[in-house]
Amino acid sequence: MRRSRRTLVALRSGPEWAIEAIIRVLGVSTIGLVALIFIFLLTEGLPAFFEIPLGNLLGIRWYPTSELYGTLPLLLGSVLITVVAMIIAFPLGVCTAVFIREIAPAWAREILKPMVEVLAGIPSVVLGFFGMVVLAPVVREGLGAPTGLTTFTGALVLAYMALPTIISVAEDALDAVPKSYRDAGLAMGATEWQTIWRVVLPAARSGILMALMLGMGRAIGETMAVMMVTGNAARMPVGLDALLRPVRTMTATIAAEMGEVASGSTHYHVLFAIALILFVLVFAITLASASVMFRRRERGGLR
């Protein structure tokens, strides 16, 4: 085996070898870049853990001017808004994918698919603006919140932003379900619906799970739109009314405050520590979705 491979390499012509080398360098440097970013975050963020007590850092108050650096409200803010966004976007996205893939006639599919892609291309500042002037008043008046800039408003905008990802990944997953499974379901006397619900969706479950996680990664890292519509009050998002109160996410905090802090100050280090937390969170989500994909491959591709 090994020997024949080596001969193959030796036989390879010059340009092909060069192309392979270039691709390898580019690939390795991408990975290297991610590693560099992580190291940068570490060197700038880790000092925060030495400069202030852990109790303060994990506290519930974020008032940097009073030396209070409690990151908990920010972390919970990000998590809550992401979870709510997914509760809205995931069922909607999967249903849309089912509609596009399984139900819509061919001509409708031809229109819907590019439309979903256009959706993905809308800049987040535009969506944020839309959320501010259209959604916020609706939330304020319709749901009786004191202000329209709330967790819920942010979650709606985030849901909208995560939809294209969820739809297209879920659609690919449905697409990969072999026709023979559908045939088997139909031939058993199941209706189209029963076949979709009991055969096709379960067969595509790992791909659909991946859609959820990629959508989540998309939502948790979003900054601009969130900053525009959530009111940015760093309060603990607990209690039943948390959805209809302002909230502040980790991303919004970094974006809003990074420009104003003195480089090397404690505040500066804490902002990097927050970025570090965010990095780890997104990395964990990505890893989880990659492992789902990996398991899927192991089990023979198509699921």
């Binding site: 072999p178 499974y181 139909l186 058993m188």
Partner: protein
Amino acid sequence: MIKIRAEHVDAYYGAKQVLADISLDIKERQITALIGPSGCGKSTFMRCLNRMNDSVRIFSLRGDVYLDGDPIYADTYDVVQLRQRVGMVFQRPNPFPQTVYDNVAFGPRVVARERGADLDSIVEESLRRVGLWQELRDKLTQDALSLSLGQQQRLCLARVLSTRPEVILMDEPASALDPIETLRIEDLMRELIELYTIVIVTHNMQQAARVSDWTAFFLTDDGLTGKLVEYGETGQIFTQPDDKRTIDYITGRFG
């Protein structure tokens, strides 16, 4: 007794006519084999018998198909019920990517809405019928795709049996299997014939001769439209066919 009667069936994919004037009676509790070269419309004809072609948008059909005397292409005919009565086994084993139990329980659960202990006994009975119970009784929660191909195909057969059909359509059910598994399927067919009417498409002449009571020979003379050349008792078709083309095909001169 005639179980299924096809009368002057023409079938089209779009403008392409793939079956012309097929009239064929399928006898109850007998095995009918459909033979003929590839592309002559055997699968298409078979899929007319449980209306599986309904989901092909460009498909259309003229003529009539009767099950126990009722026209199955009538507007008011219940397709779901038809497919419970006329089950189908496909060329490639296609168990769902679920557990062995869930595969067999699918029909009763989803289509007939059975539950609990009833479900367990249906699963056991269906697996027993195809000789899988001994092999799989301790592996009911195993992923069906981890079984051997032959086991998968018998599982698919058990899945069909679970809704207690009257007719079983088998489209080249053994073409993906090794000789031993093939013989097992054939033995099973001979056992099942006590209760069921079976229609099988096969490429394998020996198989048709071994297993079937009746043989229908399909052929296309223009490479497009399949016609029924000859239909009769298997012994007669294989020993003294009326049509010269049948002799040529059976003796392997073309196809």
